[in-house]
């Protein structure tokens, strides 16, 4: 299937959770993610049964999801992914909560929230630049 070439460049304004720039392919889900128990910390894949992204890898991608969930140990889960070189390059949330926010800060993963994530599709090339998100 051919991807549409007509999609215009788009700029979305959100809020900075952790500063920095990151540009990569987007992996988008409408499901929340738990970084303790819901992911493989070595491979950087979603392991939660029945999750929209079950089996998919977010390593090196811009991971786009509504918000985090689950145990607060999830903050260390993100840190573990980063140490293993399996973390997403950047993260975008609709509404960030404490577990993922703290995880992004301690792992130094550029992150923005308050973004309408329905405008981003899996496979889009997305750039996070502080609180601004650019799609092409």
């Amino acid at each position: 299937m051919r991807r549409s070439r007509y999609k215009r460049k788009m700029e979305l304004n959100g809020r900075i959770i952790y500063k920095g720039k990151a540009k990569a392919e987007a992996l988008v889900t409408k499901d929340q993610i738990s970084f303790y128990g819901g992911v493989d910390p070595e491979k950087g894949t979603i392991t939660e049964k029945g999750h929209e992204l079950e089996g998919k890898s977010f390593k090196g991608k811009i991971l786009v999801f509504p918000s985090g969930k689950g145990s607060t140990v999830g903050s260390y889960g993100l840190y573990r992914l980063k140490k293993n070189g399996a973390a997403p390059l950047g993260m975008i949330n609709e509404e960030c909560e404490a577990i993922v926010a703290v995880g992004a800060i301690i792992s130094e993963i550029p992150m923005a929230d308050k973004i309408d994530i329905s405008k981003i599709k899996t496979g889009d090339i997305v750039e996070i630049d502080g609180g601004v998100v650019r799609c092409e």
Partner: protein, 397 residues
Amino acid sequence: MHLTKEEERILEGGQGYASMKSMQILTALGDIFGADKLIPVKSVQVSGVSYHNLGDAGLDYLANLAKDGSVKTPTFLNPAGMDLKDWKELGISEDFAEKQKKVIGAFSKMGINTTCTCTPYLIGIKPGLGEHVAWAESSAVTYCNSVIGARTNREGGPSALASGLIGKTPNYGLHLDEERKPDLFVSVDSKLKTLSDWGALGYAIGKRGKNKIALIEGVSKPPEDYLKTFSASIVTYGSKPIYHIAGVTPEAGRFEKPSERITIGEAELKEAYEAMNDKDDTIDFVSLGCPHASLEEIKRVSELLKGRSVKTELWVACARPVKEKAEQLGYNDIIREAGGKVAADTCMVVAPVKGRFKSVATTSAKGCYYSQGHNNMKTHIGPIDKCVEAAINGKWS
């Protein structure tokens, strides 16, 4: 969120890496949750202490902060993955013990009191009514807000540590009057007798109340140990780390009765017991002290075990100062002679017990939740005497 000049300087790295990282965490949380400012905290309890949950990555994070971080307010720890002294008798491996000691070493380097407990209020860390603290373990947070009437959000490991290293927390959530208001009225229509009855009540309210704050009526004032287990249960099965009990907890009288109402009676408690009691009656692990046992509870276990011997593994988990007191009073010797273990610094939830046991008996509804989910065990819940009998017989009766 408004920052003072001093706080801004810390955020820019003026006081080193650990303070900068901590300030980043606190300001991000403050912004997310709409806090107006940072407020000082009287004490901090850090979770994420067991190497079982931290792994090498967590250890690495702590070691990094310990390079130049030191706490600015009294800070202590949640249970670790083992008894820091008598870990061998709990069947902990050398490898695990070495890593766990490194974790504790990093905390200690930051000036943290390495007493590991979920019941700080049993060892003299008891804030005053209305005081602000930043605690992390869910039952301690719930007891603190509800029974003591001090104020804390349910912190995560890194955010609590950040509060310790800065001495402050963002002013939002349960630090504010209006956020402590109940929105579910619970009428209890049953005579609660035992410790595990209170665990079952927490299950029944938590499951139904979910994200609501309960104002409970219809129970008479129970012993403190019962409120300790109730605090653990209601937050494990619900999610709000605060409740009010009319005539019992200090803030209950401040509020009007919420319009949404539920009743918990015999049927609801029976359902809770059934969910936590497996049909298979074989027991190979008995775990008491979740939350950590009081001296009274250890005394009771020793009385029940006097002159008898256990068939199963038996742990009575508690804080180290409580274990030392029990040692002096001779309770631990009686428990040891019966074949049981008094385990300080750790507990059934955070120790690496997965795969070692098939079926646990406990007084704790919270213990049942983590045993079933996280550790893949069958569970039985009941009062202390019934659990001790199960340890002696290897069977639930």
